[in-house]
Symmetry: C2
Subunit: 192 residues, 2 copies
DNA sequence: GTCTATAAGATGATAGAC
DNA sequence: GTCTATCATCTTATAGAC
């Protein structure tokens, strides 16, 4: 480590994550990143040979954090409807607390311009969330505190996409109110 | 006009629209555009002084087309529920028929990196669609063929964001099936 | 209207010194 | 590990000839 505190790798990851969440993949550069953490662009290449490697690492780390958070929700002793509310909060937190888009939401929009292994990780993030939501929804339907028609996986895919859309709309208008309203509206239609 | 048929301005607009819908704002350049229509980048600057001007013109043209299409829907002699189905088709068409994202959906994700007048036009597109949807939803609620809780404008904002999210998810997975399923699922919860 | 020429700066990377 | 130096290439323009 040379500048500031902490190790360089973590500082690269944290700063790059913030940049990608706010600017997307194509509008951020190693230079921007290096400038902020006060190292040289070449030093970033020591940790990540190229931009795609960094992107992939960021999405994987982001995905793992969400997996951990979903695991925490699983251990809560509350109704499915309550878990769903908390899950919406989880997805919303990055925007509400830090003014950032969902990392995988921004990257999804840029999908066709990303290195293929980065898109693959983004898809993995989507699928992991959809799968978890499908289980939650089905479980809520069984216990009677959630209601929806058709296959749980289709409901889950639709709901997750809708939540990402709500984030994108809130992002475009810089509006917490929009995100809150949309989140509540989407969940309300699932409650019995 | 010099190359191919038609006038250069229209060819610039059509090609740039396609590029922006598939790559977004930051991953397309005047060079890419000029190469496709076989003119020089400098010639593009004759029509649009800078990239932001082109972006703004594209969003305005896109918005107008949607306005016209919504007007057509308004003149149909069908139920609100049926109009809603057709509106979902309208939003889906660009993806289903041409494999493109919604122009304003991609740009929304890049909002923080766009020239301010481009973001403004994107917001205008959102608001126009939300406003139209709010009227449709309220009208459907009155006539009894649509059902939802709360203010129509909030439902409309949530629904529009959800549809844009469905497009983004379909875009990420290159999947018509995802878009169809999500569209139907969202609308189904509104039908009585 | 379209071109050539050109500019200043950004970008993604690499080689090799320290 | 971090740096300097350097790279080829791209990007967003502008000036001015044709």
């Amino acid at each position: 480590m040379s500048a500031k505190d902490g190790n360089t790798l973590d500082r690269i990851l944290d700063t790059a994550e913030s940049l990608m969440q706010t600017r997307g993949y194509n509008a951020f550069s190693f230079r921007d990143l290096a400038k902020i953490i006060e190292i040289k662009p070449a030093s970033v290449h020591y940790y990540f040979q190229n931009k795609g490697d960094l992107g992939k690492a960021l999405v994987m780390r982001y995905s793992k954090r969400f997996e951990t958070a979903r695991d925490c929700l699983d251990r809560l002793n509350v109704t499915s409807a309550e878990k769903l509310d908390r899950y919406v909060d989880l997805l919303s937190d990055g925007f509400q607390l830090k003014g950032r888009m969902c990392l995988c939401g921004v990257l999804a929009a840029e999908a066709s311009t990303l290195p293929s292994d980065v898109v693959e990780e983004v898809r993995t993030f989507f699928v992991a969330n959809e799968t978890w939501l499908a289980t939650l929804l089905e479980s809520g339907r069984q216990s009677g505190d959630l209601r929806f028609e058709g296959a749980a996986i289709e409901a889950a895919q639709s709901l997750f996409a809708a939540l990402e859309g709500a984030l994108m709309s809130a992002w475009t208008f810089s509006s917490n109110a929009r995100l809150n309203a949309a989140g509540k509206w989407l969940v309300a239609s699932l409650k019995t």
